[in-house]
Symmetry: C2
Subunit: 194 residues, 2 copies
Amino acid sequence: MATAIIKNRKQQIHHTAKNLFRERGYAATSMRHIAGELGIEAASLYSHIKSKEEILQLICFELAEQFLKSSEELQRKKLPAKELFKQAVTEHIRIITQNMDSSVVFLHEWRHLSEPFLSDFKLMRKRYENFYKNIIRAGEKEKSFKYQNENLTVFVIFSAMNGIYEWFTPKGKLQPEEIAEQMVEVFLNGILKN
Amino acid sequence: MATAIIKNRKQQIHHTAKNLFRERGYAATSMRHIAGELGIEAASLYSHIKSKEEILQLICFELAEQFLKSSEELQRKKLPAKELFKQAVTEHIRIITQNMDSSVVFLHEWRHLSEPFLSDFKLMRKRYENFYKNIIRAGEKEKSFKYQNENLTVFVIFSAMNGIYEWFTPKGKLQPEEIAEQMVEVFLNGILKN
DNA sequence: ATATTTGCCTAACGACCGTTAGTTAGGATG
DNA sequence: CATCCTAACTAACGGTCGTTAGGCAAATAT
């Protein structure tokens, strides 16, 4: 239907908030900023949302659930470590590139969550980290991966993937699939020429 | 001398600010927070500093200059690409781990700088990025490095190094030198066995 | 046609923001 | 001893913050 693209006010607010939270940070974005972008008064936002933090919560947990959901689906596939690794990286990068604004907020603004949301969020992140730790650990057991420190290795991979927002533009030459492919290549084989 | 460790008020303020800016972010840290940590009134800070942003400027540019200085020194050594790469990564990680609070502020709070400082900062960052691009480009010409996309490769390396603050603790098992060594290993050879 | 709901408005609340002005106590300097 | 300097203070400024209350007109439902 033609109206599928038209967002209702609540969605518009969340969309605008994502954008501003990414651009200026959560703390430096005021309700009046968000309202201004939509051409309404700050007080009017409260007809649609409960609070500023509620918006942040939605952004953070929506993305956290996407990451966890994709990890669970991948786990069910029972793939060999190397293949699982490739698909996991590809999925992670797909989610990030498809949700650029949310991703930046997810990565850097979660600390402004209040309890108990803050603790919940940290737990979900830990679960997702463990998913990756298990992949590379399995890879080592299968004798297909080698590394010295598990934590360092996983965080190198996470940091590289999560840093994509620093340089990725949807209109650039590199598309998500290629980014994933090339990153996997670097992670697996490095940049040294035999 | 015994008093070498004792900081004057201005240094104390900068030290406290670094810590709070890292912990809560620049925008969410008030002058009253900083003052409170030091047991004085917010207005008293202005006997020592000019403005809140001046503190941010000092943090950002101090670190930017450290990075650039180290890159210039390395460039003068005229090393082969692989060796230069190793030393550059090691230096970068040394600076980050020795300035954890500043590093986080440097990486994430610079956007709150006002002009012309913002533009100056971006330029310095660009210069430093080019230093790394030149390394891997030289490595390719020397036929010691291989990669598909220069930008992606450099940003993978940067992101991994700059993400160290997420997990590094000075009291942990991994020390900066070992981190550098192991990261270089991943960058150069990857985690795939044979 | 009437009643209800929706989505906005204005006005305002108390709190906190960065910063300035003016002052004062105490120590250092002449 | 007189003077200057340092580092703090109190008080206050104009603004902005997130949020609430109450009202009103248009759209929707009955």
